[in-house]
């Protein structure tokens, strides 16, 4: 495991932007806290609860906790505190974040969720693997789709046929 490199001094603007964006985490936590509190307050507390702890008590505690932590985190960020992005073997923190790849991956994954119904698991699964591998930089036009297809079909066979965990087979089921 390599230790993450110390924050480089060369990009003060980027650092400031990052600090600003970290305030967004506080804002999100605050929003979540408000959401939890609103939900808790709309509960019907009267339903046969005994003692001081009803269905709304724990949500109220968690909601308040979220609000407090959101404020504390914002204060921390304003005083120069910084969350340390997670390092790792495959992670290069010096390079600028490549959000395009992330968005594409999210798209591929959502595509799987949408397509699994109409196209069946083997097709959607193969597209998921192929798409993800392509987005992540694999460029073997012949090998990639074949690996994806075999992996997906094998998985389908093991789950659906051998184990009896139902997975949709695709449009040709019952036609052939």
């Amino acid at each position: 495991m390599t230790t993450p490199p110390p924050p480089s001094p060369r990009a003060p603007l980027r650092d400031r932007l990052k600090a600003r964006s970290e305030l967004g985490v506080g804002a999100l936590l605050l929003l979540l806290g408000v959401l939890v509190l609103t939900d808790a307050l709309t509960l019907d507390v009267d339903v046969s609860a005994r003692g001081p702890v009803g269905p709304a008590t724990v949500p109220l505690v968690v909601g308040c906790g979220l609000v407090v932590v959101a404020v504390l985190l914002a204060l921390d960020v304003l005083h120069g505190g910084r969350g340390e992005a997670e390092g790792g073997e495959d992670v290069d923190l010096d390079a600028p974040a490549d959000w395009r790849t992330v968005l594409l991956l999210v798209g591929v994954f959502l595509g799987f969720a949408v397509l699994i119904g109409p196209l069946g698991f083997p097709v959607a699964g193969a597209l998921l693997f192929w798409g993800a591998a392509y987005v992540l930089g694999s460029r073997h036009p012949a090998r990639d789709p074949l690996i994806a297809a075999v992996l997906s079909l094998l998985t389908y066979g093991v789950f659906d046929r051998l184990l009896g965990v139902p997975l949709p087979g695709g449009p040709l089921m019952g036609v052939l």
């Binding site: 193969a126 297809a149 389908y156 089921m173 019952g174």
Partner: protein, 327 residues
């Protein structure tokens, strides 16, 4: 290299499109009761009541040679209403059925779900089961009368344990008892547990004053003397069990839980008929008779439309009971 790509793509496409149907064995001759690819949905967790009913029925149907493999899968949640909603969503699918019972009727009311059992195609009622009132062997209550006397005095101090969430059978039974005993149901201190296991531990460990559960669940503990059976809730005594009915104990009420099978809405008459026939043949099979005996279930077979009428009647009863309870 260039040239191989289209072939690879074509090969991959063929694999994933044509592969699945080829992997699936031919559906074979479709005669009588065989429903290829039939699935039983269980709306609660493995090991629960509906689960055991579904798995036993599936196994018996396969053994009796009525149909091929029946796949049993669990979709637990919200007292069975998650499964119910999914089943209603499978509109027109004649190859799926759901094991259910009185608990689902109650859960529909307490969860106020938009999908109800009126949306399903009733197939058959299979079994019924009385509830029992049990205490641990160290409990101070030796008879149902002693228990009732203490309960009337201070209902809050006598927590009742049951294996179902509010609205379920183990909840309805003590509420009906309380009503008949002159205790305002709102004062009953009912504690729901996750199924029979945790409940049993709480009764054995005297965490609750008494427990209410299905008669089949704790037969062994009763026989071993670890649990004391105070009463059964049905109209008649249970053969082999030495306990009075509630009515004999002076409470003017009775309660019986039941289990059955429903299918999605929008089935053709043929599809519905096929499921009803399958379940009827299952009911007549020696394997099912044997299972009824080993599990201690009471046969309460009621097929098709009669079951539908029964569902409506139960729905009204649960509705009025829960309304009276202020739920």
């Amino acid at each position: 290299m260039r040239l191989r790509t289209p072939f690879a793509l074509l090969g991959a496409a063929l694999l994933v499109l044509v592969g699945p149907p080829l992997l699936t064995p031919g559906s074979g001759s479709d005669t009588g009761t065989d429903i290829p690819g039939l699935r039983f949905m269980v709306p609660n967790t493995p090991g629960g009541g509906y689960d055991i009913t579904a798995r036993t029925a599936a196994k018996n149907a396969e053994e009796a040679g009525l149909t091929g493999d029946i796949e049993v899968f669990n979709l637990p949640g919200a007292g069975g209403t998650v499964g119910l909603t999914r089943l209603v969503g499978e509109r027109g699918d004649g190859r799926v059925a759901m094991s259910m019972g009185l608990g689902v009727v109650g859960a529909v009311h307490t969860n106020k779900t938009p999908r109800t059992l009126a949306d399903t195609t009733p197939i058959a009622r299979l079994t019924e089961e009385q509830d029992i009132v049990v205490v641990s062997e160290d409990s101070p209550y030796r008879t149902i009368q002693e228990l009732l006397a203490a309960w009337r005095k201070d209902p809050g101090k006598l927590p009742v344990g049951g294996g179902s969430s509010p609205g379920g059978p183990d909840h309805l039974a003590p509420m009906l008892m309380a009503q008949a005993a002159g205790i305002p149901p709102k004062e009953v201190n009912y504690i729901p547990f996750d199924g029979g296991g945790e409940l049993l531990a709480s009764i054995l460990g005297d965490k609750v004053a008494f427990g209410v559960s299905g008669v089949g669940e704790y037969l062994d503990q009763i026989r071993a003397g670890e649990l004391r059976l105070l009463a059964v809730t049905g109209a008649e005594r249970v053969p082999g069990l030495d306990a009075p009915t509630l009515r004999e104990a002076g409470l003017d009420t009775e309660f019986t839980n039941w289990r059955g099978i429903v299918a999605p809405p929008g089935l053709t008459d043929a599809e519905r008929e096929r499921l009803v026939t399958l379940v009827t043949k299952l009911h007549d099979s020696p394997q099912w008779r044997e299972s009824l005996k080993t599990h201690g279930w009471t046969d309460a077979f009621l097929p098709g439309e009669e079951f539908g009428a029964f569902l409506t009647e139960q729905n009204t009863r649960v509705d009025t009971v829960l309304k009276e309870l202020g739920l």
